[in-house]
């Protein structure tokens, strides 16, 4: 819609929604993510909303099914007439609806996925209504190589990547950067996301005598890969994705951390070590919904998604709340989010956050924890350009 007042907006209410997998095999992502969003919106509404409007949040459960995700996305926009999609969720649904959403031009703030298709450094027309926050996998891959070189003096890099979007995206990012940074990609090994035996991958890394192993995979497969490396007797340091930079994942590989066979590093686009106030607020609010989620990375993500949307609303403030105004407001200035996350939508950039912290797993009193090695930095900062 050009200049008319947008859909889903009334005097005292603004309607937003998302479709996500809150049941089935990925419910463990969708549930806490939704809870994080709920918690933030509840907090805002309790404070009287934004510019006199409460935020009403509708959610559908698509069970991680592409067709159903597409259907619900259309339903949200056409039937429910939401003002914006917040936390558009999951690779299947997001990749399926990208073009449709660009055509419609509805704002979507935060995607719960980092597929490459979201990367757009010159957004035009409807593409401008897209606001990725979470790092795009390709970008993360680039950061990973940079960290491997800058922090770990790597010359030969090995990559274990999952046969899924995140794995492939990160690999692409890595491949983009190796030439600039003058490192060799000495071994690449693909693993299935649900593989139970990754000895091939581990063996390939050892045989190729790499300096750093980048594990480009999410929780389950990444942990499996770490243990496979340990089983194979590896001593090569490991760098893994931001997806795994939470306490739970680390608990899962705590025996490796304890044994000290090799170091484990991770990217993190959220830095909870440096932003204790934000964490306290989050914990206080999420506990009203489910205290179990207090340390859950997906709940953090949902919280940030909601915060990003609300940031836009606040910027529009008392002005007329239309899509166009909202988009302009988001582009206006750096979007600063909880836990030190900063995203830049100016100059038609739609590339998510590209700055990340570098964490190292350590064993403190027999408990594995992430310690911040380097604060949130952009690639430029990392390689010191």
């Amino acid at each position: 819609g050009e200049d008319q007042v947008a859909q889903g907006v009334t005097e005292d209410k603004v309607l937003v929604g998302n479709t996500a997998a809150t049941s089935g095999f990925v419910a463990f992502v969708g549930e806490p993510f939704k809870a994080g969003m709920d918690a933030y919106f509840n907090m805002v509404n309790e404070d009287g909303g934004v510019a006199g409007r409460e935020i009403e949040y509708v959610h559908y459960d698509d069970g991680f099914d592409q067709a159903q995700g597409q259907t619900y996305t259309q339903k949200l926009i056409e039937d429910d007439q939401v003002f914006a999609l917040v936390g558009h969720f999951g690779t299947p649904t997001v990749s399926t609806t990208m073009e449709y959403l660009d055509t419609v031009g509805i704002p979507r703030v935060y995607y719960a996925t980092g597929i490459s298709a979201l990367f757009n450094d010159d957004a035009q027309g409807g593409e401008r209504s897209s606001f990725p926050v979470q790092p795009i996998y390709d970008a993360e891959g680039e950061v990973m190589v940079a960290r491997a070189v800058a922090e770990l003096d790597a010359e030969r890099i090995g990559v274990i990547y999952s046969n899924a979007d995140d794995g492939k995206g990160i690999l692409r990012g890595i491949q983009n950067r190796i030439n600039d940074l003058d490192v060799t990609l000495a071994a690449i090994s693909q693993v299935a996301s649900d593989a139970d035996d990754m000895s091939i991958a581990a063996q390939s890394m050892i045989s190729a005598d790499v300096d750093v192993v980048i594990i480009a995979a999410n929780q389950g497969p990444a942990a499996t890969a770490v243990r496979a490396l340990q089983d194979a007797g590896s001593t090569i340091p490991v760098v893994t994705s931001y997806v795994n930079a939470d306490a739970t994942w680390l608990t899962g590989v705590s025996d490796v951390v304890d044994s000290g066979s090799f170091n484990i590093y991770a990217n993190a686009w959220i830095d909870i070590n440096e932003n204790q106030d934000d964490v306290d607020l989050f914990v206080q609010e999420i506990s009203k919904i489910n205290a179990d989620y207090a340390g859950n990375a997906y709940a953090f993500a949902g919280w940030i998604a909601a915060a990003a949307f609300v940031e836009g609303l606040e910027r529009v403030g008392e002005d007329e709340l239309t899509w166009e105004n909202y988009i302009d407001a988001m582009e206006e200035d750096l979007v600063e989010l909880p836990f030190g996350v900063v995203v830049d939508y100016s100059e038609n950039r739609r590339v998510g956050t590209q700055a990340m912290a570098f964490l190292k797993a350590a064993s403190v009193d027999d408990v594995a924890v992430w310690e911040t090695e380097k604060p949130i930095q952009t690639i430029k900062d990392i390689i010191g350009e």
Partner: protein
């Protein structure tokens, strides 16, 4: 009382009409479903409902094919999802290569038929659970191909004729899933396609082919002695089933116009088997009913009412329906009629209900 009587009369004549002319029954059914594509324009239902029904319509076609295997031929396939994927992704790829939609579809169906024939040949040697798992191998191989081979686009494949979004039919009508009106048209088109596949299926199973398939599965020896070639009908069954599955995939591509490469999994194959089982073995309407129960009920109602526990509830629903209706929920009609007659102290023998209906639902 009077009203009830005349109502009964009308109902009876309708049901008689359906019996003597089943084809018009399917057409009427198709018309009713197609109206879901129009009703949202009058604000009577939501557009979202249409999307859910599109899914049901598409999977009805896939499940019909599977019903040829499961219900009529006593064969099983755990690779169905792979073929639906083949239909959807194949259409997308051929369109991208510049073929007209109709040619792409024919090509995809042809390839699927060949695949079906190969599996049919295979099934002559490998039977029972071995065959089921062999088809699972095929499904897994296809899955690997979809996600690994670049031409399928990685995550998903956008379906489009030419540069513009949408699919061009008959070389001139471009229909885009993005647009509500187009989507309604697409919905009506796939409903018509479903109706046609239903009628074709009905004709097949009520013909010599249907009888031969059943003879082959219920008593291979009798079938052979009567001249039914097992080779020919195994091939027929698998070719039909894969073509139906693939055609379902084509419909998917046509309606949703965007195809994921990762969703053609064993889980989906099981869901489709579930549709046949829950709805009704050998029943065409039952197959639709099964798709409706397994996909429609959770997505139209359960998810919203039950939230978190809807997944559990869907599982429980499947289990309960199967325990109480081992041959499919479609037989609830017979039971209701029976209960009705029981109330009225109806004489079963006279109603001829008992032998004809009871025996179907008691099939073990």
């Amino acid at each position: 009382m009077k009203i009830e009587k005349s109502q009964n009369k009308i109902l009876n004549s309708i049901s008689r009409g359906f019996k003597t002319n089943p084809i018009s029954g399917f057409m009427l059914f198709g018309l009713v479903i197609a109206s879901i594509g129009i009703l949202p324009h009058f604000g009577l239902i939501e557009f979202g409902t249409m999307g859910t029904f599109a899914y049901i319509v598409i999977y009805t076609v896939v499940a019909l094919g599977l019903n040829i295997l499961l219900g009529f031929s006593g064969l099983i396939s755990l690779g169905t999802a792979g073929f639906v994927g083949a239909g959807a992704l194949g259409t997308a790829v051929f369109l991208e290569l510049g073929l007209p939609f109709e040619v792409a579809v024919l090509l995809v169906l042809l390839i699927a038929g060949l695949f079906g024939a190969v599996i049919g040949l295979f099934s002559l040697k490998v039977e029972g659970i071995y065959l089921a798992i062999a088809t699972l191998f095929v499904g897994e191989i296809l899955r690997q191909i979809y996600t690994q081979v670049k031409i399928f686009g990685g995550n998903n494949k956008v379906v489009r004729s030419g540069e513009e979004p949408g699919v061009e039919l008959l070389g001139r009508f471009r229909l885009t899933n993005f647009l509500q009106d187009d989507r309604s048209t697409l919905f009506i088109i796939i409903t018509v396609l479903m109706t046609i596949t239903m009628i074709l299926m009905y004709n097949i199973v009520k013909s010599r082919t249907g009888r031969a398939l059943m003879a082959m599965s219920r008593s291979q020896h009798a079938a052979q002695a009567m001249g039914v070639s097992i080779l020919k009908y195994r091939l027929t069954a698998f070719i039909l089933a894969t073509m139906y599955a693939t055609f379902g995939g084509v419909m998917f591509a046509l309606y949703f116009q965007n195809v994921s490469t990762t969703e053609w999994t064993l889980e989906l194959s099981l869901i489709i088997i579930g549709m046949v089982v829950v709805g009704g073995f050998k029943s065409i309407y039952g197959t639709f009913l099964g798709a409706f129960i397994i996909h429609g009920v959770p997505n139209l109602w359960l998810n919203n009412i039950l939230g978190d526990v809807s997944y559990i509830f869907t599982g429980v629903l499947i289990i309960i329906v199967i325990i109480f209706y081992p041959n499919g929920f479609v037989y609830i009609g017979h039971d209701m009629r029976k209960a009705f007659y029981k109330i009225k102290n109806f004489d079963y023998k006279k109603a001829n209900l008992n032998k004809k209906t009871k025996q179907v639902s008691d099939d073990e």
